[in-house]
């Protein structure tokens, strides 16, 4: 067992600020006081663990995990694959990755979504998987559609997949969204633009990956996810004291 050590501090200038006025919902849901900075203790460097008994193999196949036998959802068949890495470029193995998305028409299977595009009877819209020992993961799904939302009167979300990742410590917990290369709606989206840095936004845009495409079957996008890195245990950098 290695001596526990902290995660690198989160670069708050790379992330969106809590208050982003053009994403209106954030205005009353953003703390006004500064966050209190905390050096990691055991409470932050530990986190929940998951195993193959927690999920089923079909959970990562959104094309079949809700479809009636012999049926499949409407839409462009895609594979989303990539690795979960930390800031040291080390793979994050055996970590839970959960995704959710709208169907090809831009409608969510959610009792609060009333958009007029229809529900697809063969599409649930969620999946989950564990990364392998190299941090690798993949999902099969259909490409989600863009949809309108109430912010400015004529705002449209770019096609996106929500992604939730755990890592090994609770301090690495992250929810983000994956966008698709070439989508013209990315540039004008108030939620995308809560992220101040263009290079940071680019980190959320999955590239079309022809090498991973299955010819005559399914097109592929590659999406790597980076979680906070961890310090090496140097000299007095110890959590537990002596």
């Amino acid at each position: 067992m290695s001596t526990p050590a902290e995660f690198y501090q989160r670069d708050r200038l790379w992330h969106p600020p809590a208050y982003a006025k053009d994403y209106k919902t954030s205005v009353t849901r953003s703390p006004q006081y500064a966050l209190i900075s905390l050096q990691n203790s055991a409470s932050e460097i530990t986190g929940p663990t998951f195993g193959h008994r927690d999920i089923d193999p079909i959970d990562n196949d959104l094309i079949s995990n809700y479809a009636a036998p012999g049926q499949s959802p409407i839409g462009e068949r895609i594979i989303v694959h990539g690795r979960v890495l930390d800031e040291n470029a080390r793979p994050v193995p055996n970590t839970l990755v959960e995704v959710w998305q709208a169907n090809a028409g831009g409608r969510y299977r959610h009792k609060k979504d009333t958009y007029l595009a229809p529900i697809d009877p063969n599409f649930g819209g969620c999946g989950r998987t564990l990364t392998d020992e190299n941090g690798y993961y993949y999902f099969r799904t259909v490409k989600p559609g863009a949809y309108p939302w109430r912010n400015w009167v004529n705002d449209w979300r770019p096609a996106h997949i929500h992604v939730s990742v755990f890592g090994s410590g609770f301090a690495q917990r992250l929810i983000t969204q994956m966008y698709f290369e070439g989508d013209p709606l990315i540039e004008t989206c108030p939620i995308v633009n809560t992220i101040p840095d263009k290079a940071a936004i680019g980190q959320l845009v999955a590239a079309l990956d022809r090498n991973a495409t299955i010819p005559l079957d399914t097109i592929a996008y590659k999406f790597d996810i980076v979680l906070r890195g961890r310090r090496s245990t140097l000299f007095e950098n110890r959590l537990e004291g002596n």
Binding site: W14, P16, S26, S30, S43, P48, A89, D113, R128, E240
Partner: protein, 206 residues
């Protein structure tokens, strides 16, 4: 010219959005898809210690309940041990220490059943008072909010807690103390969170 450090950057966070339930609690979104949803059983059947219920509501800057919140809890067992390979000590079989709850769509109330955690050794040999780590996401929250729930009846341990003592403004420490009561013979801790405004909950950059 200098050498390149070559660190990667953390993927930037984005809001969990209004439909977070589809991915993380599909039953609440209105459909059944998985053999078992994760996060409903924090302590498991063999957990030692005092069974407790934790409840609350999350309030926005207008004073209204936020009804589309998802909270995750991470806690040690009653002996102060996290079920994680890097934390020395034993935990009971089936003790996950992790839970996930959503707020009621009509009222904004949330709650979960668990056991009261024990004190956990903190940095530099300073003991931390019993606490539950909480992570809150919702539509309009751009980066998940981290806070800690401490227990009203742990007066001495709370007074010595190294994290509570980091909060310069003593009156703000009270926002992290859950209120204890009894209901039908069960211990209930009430923990209301205020995201913004007067008596705003203390949130941490961990």
């Amino acid at each position: 010219m200098t050498q390149k450090l070559n660190y990667l950057k953390e993927s930037p966070s984005q809001t969990a959005g209004p439909y977070v339930h589809i991915g993380l609690a599909p039953g609440a979104a209105g459909f059944d898809i998985y053999r078992e949803e994760l996060g409903w059983d924090i302590a498991g059947p063999n957990a030692k210690g005092e069974p407790i219920r934790v409840e609350g509501i999350v309030i926005d800057g207008t004073g209204s309940p936020i009804k589309d919140v998802l909270l995750e809890a991470w806690q040690a067992n009653s002996a102060g041990v996290y079920p994680h390979p890097e934390h020395p000590g034993e935990v009971e079989e089936g003790f996950r220490g992790w839970g996930r709850v959503i707020t009621d769509f009509a009222t904004g109330e949330w709650g979960f059943d668990t056991v009261k955690p024990g004190p956990v050794m903190g940095r530099n040999g300073r003991m931390m008072a019993p606490h539950i780590n909480l992570w809150i996401v919702a539509r309009g929250i751009n980066v998940g909010l981290n806070t800690r729930l401490y227990f009203e009846d742990e007066t001495e341990a709370n007074a010595a807690d190294p994290v509570l003592n980091l909060i310069e403004w003593e009156r703000r420490r009270a926002t992290l103390i859950a209120k204890r009561s009894e209901r039908d013979g069960q211990t209930v801790y009430r923990f209301d969170l205020k995201i913004q405004g007067e008596d705003e909950t203390v949130f941490f950059d961990i």
